[in-house]
């Protein structure tokens, strides 16, 4: 049979609008769950509001909960009204709701997927979605096997298929490898979209722009000029109803394995040859492969006891609802990592993440080396090194700390900040990470998703970090809620003659 090659569309030339996604249907597994209501549906609504969804589009909500399509539509409408960043517009919602369906299905039983297959086929006929499918697995990993197997066996002969997989992708290297093997049995790697929602954040993407669109940073972005890097992911909240998950995951699996190692990779990676998915991910994987396995002395874990957050007394982790009274789950991790390559040899990357810290903050601080010659006769403490601070959230932006002369007689120096704040420079709202990621998936762009080898490298690092924990019993709690973590985390830097950033 002769393949018919479509002529290129001359009308698209010069259109500044992003090309629209092709017609497709999206099936959301875990449709009755929290993530669908808080993030996925509001993101789809926001995309519809901006005309970024394909004209021919349908959504099928799938879960085991018995519910009619009418009830599902109403539940989603409420979810959008509460959680969307935009004003609710009935006309936009009505257009989206026209293509909204619900299917109650148990993929654990033989043929449980039949109702979904029927619903998708119907959408193909009525809405012209051409067999193109996005399967969004917003379900716990335990449910993956049945769903992926059923979908893989009944994938359509026509159209394309993409699978979005929510974190956690496994709980250690072995389970991640098993999951990868399962998914790749039925789907090609370029059909699999593993979400780490941090990569959908504007400020995380801005890290790439900052580094690779500005000529001044890259020449000094190395061990010659940078003393060390500090990455902080701090939360003031406790487990907030996620005790069941958190008891098994802890801070290292919840945050370090995915978000923090992504931030390390983006900070340390070499310039990719282009902004294509494989080029960017190749460079990130190289960084992860180059991370030296941290020894036990380079990793600190902690668990919060009772304390005060914003003046309010809060219980310790072990007193939280759903948490074992003798739980040894870590709610805090600090670590010193080294990226063993020419650019970063001997330059420490200090990471810390924790719950019930004094405030919510995600930052990457690039601390440069001090000026080589002390020209001014001033207190060394007042002549602080330059720090480039990338605020991921909140107060998104970039800030450079520099020394400036205090006006007046003599030479007194103070640290001042040159700030770029997204909120101060742009009034347009920052899109939610899920909007960007869902749209990218509809467009088939996997740049901001995690590749199989990337996720396995991340787990290999985490496995090495937690291995010594099996041998010793921690003395928990070891930091008070509302403090910046256990004293051992401070010692981790003090031993190197450094300290965590002041807040």
């Amino acid at each position: 049979m002769t393949e018919v090659v479509a002529a290129p569309n001359p009308l698209l030339e010069g259109l500044t609008m992003r090309r629209p996604p092709e017609p497709c249907a999206i099936a959301i597994f875990g449709a009755s769950g929290d993530l669908t209501q808080r993030k996925i549906m509001p993101a789809l609504y926001a995309l519809a509001m901006r005309g970024l969804l394909p004209a021919r589009f349908g959504i099928v909500g799938v879960s085991r909960t018995e519910m009619s399509t009418e009830d599902f539509v109403e539940r989603m409408r409420q979810a959008v009204m509460v959680n969307c960043r935009d004003e609710f517009r009935h006309d936009v919602w009505e257009r989206l709701a026209e293509g909204l369906h619900y299917v109650s299905a148990d993929f654990g039983v033989e043929g449980g997927e039949a109702a979904l297959v029927d619903a998708l086929n119907e959408i193909d006929e009525t809405r012209g979605t051409a067999g193109n499918r996005v399967y969004y697995l917003a379900v716990p990993p335990a449910a993956f096997d049945d769903i992926v197997t059923a979908l893989g066996r009944r994938r359509t002969a026509s159209g394309w298929t993409r699978v979005i997989v929510e974190k956690p992708f496994g709980h250690d290297l072995a389970s991640a490898e098993a999951l990868n093997e399962l998914v790749t049995t039925y789907f090609h790697e370029d059909e699999i979209f593993r979400i780490d929602h941090y990569l959908g954040k504007e400020t995380v993407q801005n890290m790439l722009v900052l580094r690779f669109a500005n000529g001044i940073f890259e020449p000094i972005w190395n061990r010659q000029f940078i003393d060390h890097v500090q990455i902080t992911v701090a939360e003031s909240l406790g487990v907030e109803g996620r005790a069941d998950f958190y008891e098994h995951a802890g801070a290292i699996r919840d945050v370090v394995q995915n978000h923090m190692l992504q931030l390390v990779a983006l900070t340390a990676m070499e310039p990719p040859i282009d902004f294509a998915a494989e080029s960017v991910r190749n460079e990130k994987v190289k960084v992860l492969k180059a991370i030296h396995t941290p020894g036990p002395k380079h990793v600190v874990r902690g668990q919060y006891g009772s304390g005060y957050i914003e003046g309010e007394e809060v219980p310790g982790y072990r007193q939280e609802h759903g948490v074992a009274a003798d739980s040894n789950t870590e709610t805090y991790v600090a670590a010193k990592l080294f990226v063993d390559n020419w650019r970063w040899a001997d330059t420490p990357f200090y990471l810390r993440t924790g719950k019930r810290l004094p405030r919510r903050e995600t930052t990457i601080a690039i601390q440069f080396k001090r000026a080589p010659h002390p020209l001014f006769e001033v207190d060394r403490e007042s002549l602080r090194p330059n720090v480039l601070l990338i605020h991921i959230q909140p107060d998104e932006g970039v800030s450079l700390a520099i020394g400036a002369k205090v006006p007046g007689q003599g030479t007194s120096i103070r640290t001042v900040h040159m700030d770029f704040l997204y909120g101060g420079a742009f009034r347009i709202g920052i899109p939610e990470a899920y909007e960007r990621l869902i749209l990218d998936c509809l467009l088939g762009d996997a740049t901001l998703f995690t590749r199989a080898d990337e996720v396995e490298e991340q787990w290999a690092i985490v496995d090495a970090m937690v291995a010594p924990w099996k041998r010793d019993r921690p003395r928990f709690p070891n930091y008070a809620a509302g403090s910046w973590g256990p004293p051992a985390a401070d010692d981790l830097l003090h031993r190197d003659g450094r300290s965590w950033r002041r807040h």
């Binding site: 479509a6 009308l11 101060g424």
Partner: protein, 257 residues
């Protein structure tokens, strides 16, 4: 950036409204030039405002500077020396020219010489085809944006989405302003590489586009305000060859289609 707006008397109200919306999206120094060449006194009268806007749902404000200058008498024909000291260093300069362009005048020549991009709206012109011809002579000198062209964007995207059904299109019907309709038809003709007849129905904004009787369905077109259209142009820095080609095609039509 610096945003210079040349605003003759009859456009002041519209320009002020657009500027308010614009500043929310493009914090910048706006220099509003209000020419009054008939005034018997030769003078420049100015005022400066700092206008701040609260971001939706947030406590922070975004602020923009607005400098309003009344150029009276002969000063209206030599604006460059007044404007130059007020430009923000090292940042792009956009010139929004309200109303018909006085081709060959010193004021246009001077301000085009200062700016990186000229932004016009062909709907403000009396004879779009004639003015497109004159405007196209500036393409080699300055990057040009036409808001009438920008308004057709959602409709162009919608028709592009109808490919390949529209590959052999022979006729396009546009209900909308004449300038928008001409640019749309010229775009279709230049992209497809063959003649396309235009059936134009006057309306204040584009309400309908049909290609060979098939209706285009744009998305989000109704959400765009005049400020949004201007804002979009301020995000462009290079020349727009597709627009230039369409404008030259309009210029080649001595009589409207």
């Amino acid at each position: 950036m610096t945003h210079i707006a040349w605003v003759p008397e009859r456009w002041v109200e519209a320009a002020t409204g657009t500027l308010a919306g614009l500043a929310e999206r493009h914090p910048s120094r706006a220099i509003l030039l209000l020419p009054q060449p008939e005034d018997t006194t030769d003078s420049v009268e100015g005022e400066a405002d700092l206008r701040c806007f609260v971001r939706q749902g947030e406590r922070k404000e975004v602020c923009a500077e607005v400098i309003t200058l009344r150029l009276r008498g002969a000063r209206a024909s030599v604006p460059a020396s007044v404007v130059m000291p007020l430009l923000v260093s090292d940042l792009p300069v956009f010139l929004r020219w309200r109303g018909p362009l006085p081709f060959g005048s010193t004021e246009l020549e001077q301000l085009v010489g200062l700016a990186d991009r000229l932004v016009v709206d062909a709907v403000e012109w009396d004879e779009p085809a004639r003015d497109c011809r004159e405007l196209s002579k500036l393409f080699g000198t300055i990057a040009v944006s036409d808001i009438a062209w920008a308004r057709t964007l959602p409709w162009r995207a919608a028709v592009a989405g109808m490919w390949p059904d529209v590959a052999g299109a022979a006729q396009v019907a546009v209900a909308g302003p004449l300038a928008d309709a001409l640019l749309f038809a010229a775009w279709l003709e230049t992209r497809l590489g063959h003649a396309v007849d235009l059936d134009h129905e006057p309306a204040d904004e584009i309400e309908r586009v049909e290609v060979d009787g098939q209706e285009a369905r744009p998305v989000a077109a109704e959400l765009m305000t005049p400020s949004d259209f201007l804002s979009d142009q301020l995000e462009m820095f290079g020349r727009d060859p597709i627009y230039e080609e369409a404008a030259r095609r309009v210029a080649s039509w001595t009589t409207t289609k």
